[in-house]
Amino acid sequence: MEQNLALVLFSGTDDKLNAAAVMTAGAAAIGRPVHIFLQYWALDSFRADRIADDHGLAPEAGDAGRRAVDALAAAGQAPWHETLRQAKELGEVDIQACSLSMDLLQITESDLDPLVDGVEGVTSFWLAASDGQVVFI
């Protein structure tokens, strides 16, 4: 199965990034190329000096959600950036930063974690997405 998958990551909270990392790793495991486009707060979470920080959870998580996520982490669940690293090792995963969001955050490529392969605009993203599925998280 070669149908490619494009993920647009907008949210920068750890739960949403983990959901995205899991989707990516699963797709990589079955040989589907994944193209990831980082926008806004998701891009902010990929800054080299902050990637391992606590980026919080989506508001609907609440206190119970926080405890559940902490319990999984304490049980040894890999953080989302580690899952993404493994996904890249496994298959074809290309991670690109949205150039507009780079301007917004006032950062350059050297501020980003090496997981990020480059910077592109939205036109380049749509070209890469081609006629594959696009998921917005």
Binding site: G76, Q77, A78
Partner: protein
């Protein structure tokens, strides 16, 4: 029939959540030769369907899928 003796490699994915059992297996199977057997131990309850689907997509044959208490055990033969 048990094929445990023919296993080249074991992936211990116990305690790991989805999709890491598949990810670790996919990485490990790269190191093997065609026809080699790999054993996977997992506790992720979603792994049973995942290994069936993964086997179907990749062509690596799922030779055995068993469960002992909370531990799932899979044997796959590399394509």
């Amino acid at each position: 029939m048990t094929v445990t003796t023919n296993v080249t490699k074991t992936v211990d994915a116990r305690g790991l959540s989805c999709p890491l059992p598949i990810v670790k297996t996919a990485l490990a199977i790269k190191e093997l030769g065609s026809g080699d057997m790999i054993e996977v131990l997992a506790t992720d309850p979603g792994s049973t369907k995942d290994f069936v689907a993964w086997s179907k997509t990749t062509g690596h044959e799922l030779v055995e899928s068993t469960v002992d208490g909370k531990v799932f055990r899979y044997i796959l033969r590399k394509k």
